[in-house]
Amino acid sequence: MAKSEDQAVAEAFEPTRVEEHRAYLMRYAMLRLRDATAAEDAVQETLLAALQTGTRFAGRSSVRTWLTGILKHKIVDYVRRQSREQPLERLDDEVGDAASDVAGAAFAPDGHWHDFPADWGAPDASFESAQFWKVFEACVQVMPARAARVFVMREVLELATEDICKELGITATNCWVLLHRARLSLRECLEIKWFTP
């Protein structure tokens, strides 16, 4: 016989399970928010919201997927508040700022790569390495802040470019410039620190 919804929710919130979920959600939130306090707040709000609306979880998805869905909303809320507090002109400034222009640093004036991207072989094997993920996290940390913000919204939260533009109040062009910059930065960092050290 199928478990009742209440039973499924009760099991999901056993203390040991909650700690498992919390660790996962914290990783998720940290990558996005890059701020431990903000991440803890978002995760806490998520678990509370889940408890309050628990009976609406009808086993349609795994508990983790369901919790991650709630967390995404919390993170988007946080980003929205943050972008209100951090004036958007600063974002536009940064796009036009030659000093922080990663793309400018990656290419010679004639448009050639300064350092041609290397062949990373079969890179997915790195996913099995805990050390790789440390490098990955470190490389996300050193990305230009706003580029990293857009990159994680796009690649981790899997938001569409239009939604990112709407959330941050930037143009699609700026969004693409920031994503390009983020990818160049992350690429270079992974190459130096991991693939061809």
Partner: protein
Amino acid sequence: MPRNQVVHTVKLIPSCRETSELISQAQDRALTLREKLALYVHLPLCKGCRNFREQVAFMRRAARAYLDRE
């Protein structure tokens, strides 16, 4: 020149910088026919940009795998 319209310059072969912008944007929007053509012209000639294309796809997989690992 708006930087998203990288291939509006009248050049037969786009630079690596322009090509890398197209490779990046291909992850986020549909490229125009002209832009796709520019990639077809540049990529066979340039191992660096081919590697960059692989790396961009890898970074997307990595960002997703980051959350799924135990």
